[in-house]
Symmetry: C2
Subunit: 759 residues, 2 copies
Amino acid sequence: MVQQAEQQALQQQFRYVGKRIPRVDIVSKLTGAAVFAEDVKVPGVLYGKLLHSPHPHARIVRIDTSRAEQLPGVRAVATAADLPDKRVGRVVKDEHYFARDKVRYVGDRVAAVAADTREIALEAVRRIEVEYELLPPVRDAFEGLAAGAPIIHEDLLRYTVVGPAKPQGGNLCSLNSLTRGEPEAAFGECARVFEQVYTTQMQHQTYLEPHACVAVYNPDRTYTIHTANQGQFPLRNAVAEVLGVPQNQVRVVPAEIGGGFGGKSIMKIEPAAAVLAKKAGRPVRIVMSRHEDFIGGNPRAAFHITLKTGVTADMRMHARTIDVVMDQGAHAMGAGAMAASVTQFAEGPYAIPNLRITSRLVYTNKACTSAMRAPGGPQINFALESETERICAAMGWDGIEFRRRNAMPTDYVNTAGGVNRSVFTLDTLEACLALSGYRHDRARLGPNRGRGLALGNWNVGGNASGAVIKMNGDGSVNVIGGVVDLSGVNTTMTQIVAEALDVPLERVTVKSLDTDSAPHATNSGGSQVLKSHGLACFKASEHIKAQLFELAVDELDASAERMELKGGQVRVQGEPSRAVAVTKLLSQAQGKTGPIVGYGATGNSPRMPSMAAHVADVEVDPETGQVKVVRYCAAQDVGLAINPMSVEGQIHGGVAQGLGQALCEQFTYRDGQPQNAGFLDYKIPSALDVPMIETTLVEKPSVAGPYGAKGVGEPPVVPVPAAIANAIYNAVGVRVTSLPITPEKLRQAIREQERGGGA
Amino acid sequence: MVQQAEQQALQQQFRYVGKRIPRVDIVSKLTGAAVFAEDVKVPGVLYGKLLHSPHPHARIVRIDTSRAEQLPGVRAVATAADLPDKRVGRVVKDEHYFARDKVRYVGDRVAAVAADTREIALEAVRRIEVEYELLPPVRDAFEGLAAGAPIIHEDLLRYTVVGPAKPQGGNLCSLNSLTRGEPEAAFGECARVFEQVYTTQMQHQTYLEPHACVAVYNPDRTYTIHTANQGQFPLRNAVAEVLGVPQNQVRVVPAEIGGGFGGKSIMKIEPAAAVLAKKAGRPVRIVMSRHEDFIGGNPRAAFHITLKTGVTADMRMHARTIDVVMDQGAHAMGAGAMAASVTQFAEGPYAIPNLRITSRLVYTNKACTSAMRAPGGPQINFALESETERICAAMGWDGIEFRRRNAMPTDYVNTAGGVNRSVFTLDTLEACLALSGYRHDRARLGPNRGRGLALGNWNVGGNASGAVIKMNGDGSVNVIGGVVDLSGVNTTMTQIVAEALDVPLERVTVKSLDTDSAPHATNSGGSQVLKSHGLACFKASEHIKAQLFELAVDELDASAERMELKGGQVRVQGEPSRAVAVTKLLSQAQGKTGPIVGYGATGNSPRMPSMAAHVADVEVDPETGQVKVVRYCAAQDVGLAINPMSVEGQIHGGVAQGLGQALCEQFTYRDGQPQNAGFLDYKIPSALDVPMIETTLVEKPSVAGPYGAKGVGEPPVVPVPAAIANAIYNAVGVRVTSLPITPEKLRQAIREQERGGGA
């Protein structure tokens, strides 16, 4: 109750922040008026199509495009020969946009065509002759690490590497390690040491809209690219790098985006469309089929996690080692950075004095994995929070009490050396317990019914972002920003700016502008838009305010420090009659020094945990192994919810996606060949599989975000697999340590338990 | 020669400024790829058409749109009833966008329709029934001033008036006056006093592309308007005012523009398209026919100028009065401000110690006149410089010497009280004499051939403008600006920014962005873009530079004052080895404080004269009165030509347009009915009528513009009519005091001279 009163007090300070505002784009989306990349109308547009490698690993001996080029209606064919010989990638420059020497996964880009019709384009792709010399594929990470394994990147150590990636040679793309205390020695001081291996699967982002773009080569030799990507600026820079042109010569126009979840953080078809448009002299549209989107996507990586945990008699985790082996796929993409962040993230929601985390990123001949909503998060957390309950079960401890004793406090110095500010682990845990009624001793709800708890965190950083704000002559406001609107970004930014400038919402316009029109801004990913771009918008508003106050000094005969901006007036605080209209000040400024513009920017900011605590109720059919989720409760530390409706939506979606990872989703390969690259064979949760989700928001303002807000998109996906695994354990007494917990696996585990095996 | 050496030295300082760079949009324009407003593709677009008043002056008794609405294919009909009851206008709010109570000229907007096809739209317009009560029209300015004249604006004194307009009641929209010394008394001190009346005609801007726009009413209840206007911001603000919505809810996207010359500075069809789009729920395109564009345009006003000039025996103009009566048309539009500027401008290129200028702006029932290239300039100058030669002829003086003695010096305090900085009257005159070989005693070139000289000025001000510049991670540059590209604006801005940041031209992008994407910027008019927006771009570049230098302080261990930016490096001046790459600094900034953005702005700046001196050679056929211009020389004080090729283009175009005004163009009315609203009857100069034009640029850097540049678009149109009139006088000895000098008028004057009349 105290907390509720606090939250109410917090929200009463604000007019626009903290309110359940419908999305600014709601009518556009609901009426179908929103223009997605595939909808972009450009006269004379051609159909582009890619040729993908059918082999997981092969040397390219020869490519002959002549038969394709001769097909009537074919306007251009492009291969590696049409691009500068330059390796690309965010942290390990390990990839040619079009395969040059080798193909390394089924789906590797070999060539592309542009033609008058889709049918001609498809036929042209078939007519491109590629002579391959087949090589044995590396089928999984351990095979890749084995002595004598086929080498996927012979030149790995000669690649350009930036930032946190640490290529080791062989197939070991990256090796990261962090240590606190002396874990090996500390195990000897423990009452008991637990060891367990957990494994997770490859999961696809399964956004509604496959990758799509339209590229135009302009008469001034620049490129305009309309596309569905999570960040117009990172994409622009990547495309410019591939094309070998300066960044100002590529204009990326963000279309509406039908979901991303990290899968649209990576450049995909855009350079192909661009080079085809240039060769053909006409615009080119490429829309990936669902099949292409699966094989050429960048799914969540499969993890192999070895946990070793030493506990003391007073219920404390005293020592732990975590070894993570990640199946990276054929190229590193953003994954080198991810490996580093996973290494930091694996600390989890706990304070453990002796800890070593080691992560290895291994090349395999599969699709290149990269970011998916909380990349690495739910995989590690599945291990950590399954293990929490496994330890407590073995020791006869109350899992809640165990978590309370080991919970990471705020201002904790993390293993990487940073300070985790504004971390409210216990508040989040307690809020979830209150919401769900979870008790350790009542976690078994009845025959084959169980309730599971998991705590989890996602560490939210912030990328550099800048925002320009201008106040129009009538006091209305336009925000000049270049952030893609995923999960209600523009609505939230509108609220932040309206609050800061005390301008009604309908007088504030926030749009996702193109790369020619906006200052560099962050991509929409990593839950960090609110913190980085939101703060930039807040700062830009404050910059406007400061200028207005300065202008009002003479008019009000008061110092700027004493002023406030309210209802279109600058006033002396506490003296409402001493006021001047903002429109008057704007007009004066216009005459003297020119139009007023505010600028705000944030640099890269360190990652800090946001906590989530989930409780799942499940019902297991022991005959079939089928799991039904009957209730789901989620609490989350959100700092301050700028828009509670939007935050709840993020939690709902995160849980649904987590349920897919927990129970059914799995992108599989056999000998390097994808086995289920489509929705007929790749099962995602439907509305029937997802219960109503109860949420509670823990609002304790963070030091980092605007108005104390925190990033909220990724934390809710993190605890789901562990909560489900723990609920299943409490329902039927078996623990499945491998995701997804399919009916087959669970039925098998139950059978083994019946035969005397068991958890 | 000295001057040439100076100019060369000036230009050698620069890498990109002062160079003959082809326009950045040249390929786009030459290949037809440029997208003009009519070309904008929007799905489901309807054809919009306006209903114009057929009467010059009438009361609206009743409008019945029902028969139009019932026509199949008609999607919306709009009248004044669909808009807030609000008067609009820039300085005198004297107009409802759709006529509400009265129509005041043939072409006044009464209603508009949107339909599936152009044919249906035309038929629907015909079916709108309007009952008028006819009123007697005011046919010209003197009729409007006469006692008992019909009153066009009964409520004139109750209208909202801003800035320099001074409505007087009756039909007198504005009365402005400026006085220096005591002109009436001073006439008594003169050796001789001359009086003469000069009259000029209504001239249309005759841009290639008629007004066109496409309006979209968006699902979020905002408007997007693609249009060919000279200023997206003034237009946006005007449209928002008409629609009664905040400015942020109207996004104006500038299309390519097929000429403006002031005629596209005024809101025209955009509100009609917007309100129709809202009513129909579909986008609406309106393209004015050439006929509509003439009757509904805003041509150059006809002037009646009474000059009284007293000269002393030592060839000085000692006293002058100038009375200007302007035929304003039915609404004031921007003309109140124009009246004030004309009053200032009428001082001309001379320093006259006793001077009174009076201007009266009179409502008449004709098209609303407004800005046309150097509005008021060539009209007044025709009088001033015809009179110069008339006086010299009467007194037996050398016109060159007379001009030298009376020329306005630089830093002259003008009659309005401002200081005319960087005014190089004599340099310009001498440059033209050198170029043309003009001598007063040899101005008669042979039988019916004469050479005429005119000096002229246009006073260039500057409107408030802001520009954001961002440097991309690779050091390339995007300018975020919202200025329409007329006469090579974007090319010039590219040169300014490339020079300031020492970045190659192809790594600088300047586009004309929409009103959501750019800070408020000036319209492209009044020759002031270079001075106002160019300076904003220059300042924004300097802002970037200052930030880079600050970032380099630690790296270079030097103070920012000692640094320079060269070739992508910040260096310590004079020590090229102490350097750091800009890309490195940018990356550091990105990590720490965020993306770097520069902002530059200029406020409104006072008008200062730019000088031009022209010499025309003509050949007159005394039988027909036909004038052939056989040679034309133009010198202009341009401060510093950022792009000499572009400046010369402006001079060529200005002279051509001036020749039209001098010799043939005239938009005529009879009893309030337009007589020649189309190119069949309205004669403009063709390629056959315009000789090759020789130019010389006087480059003495101005204190006001970037790199010393001055506005150049309007001065070259100013001296043309006077130069032609003076050449005709020197050819055949007759002086025509009324523009245009048609063959009919000239033949008549020659006949009268033959009959014993004469100059």
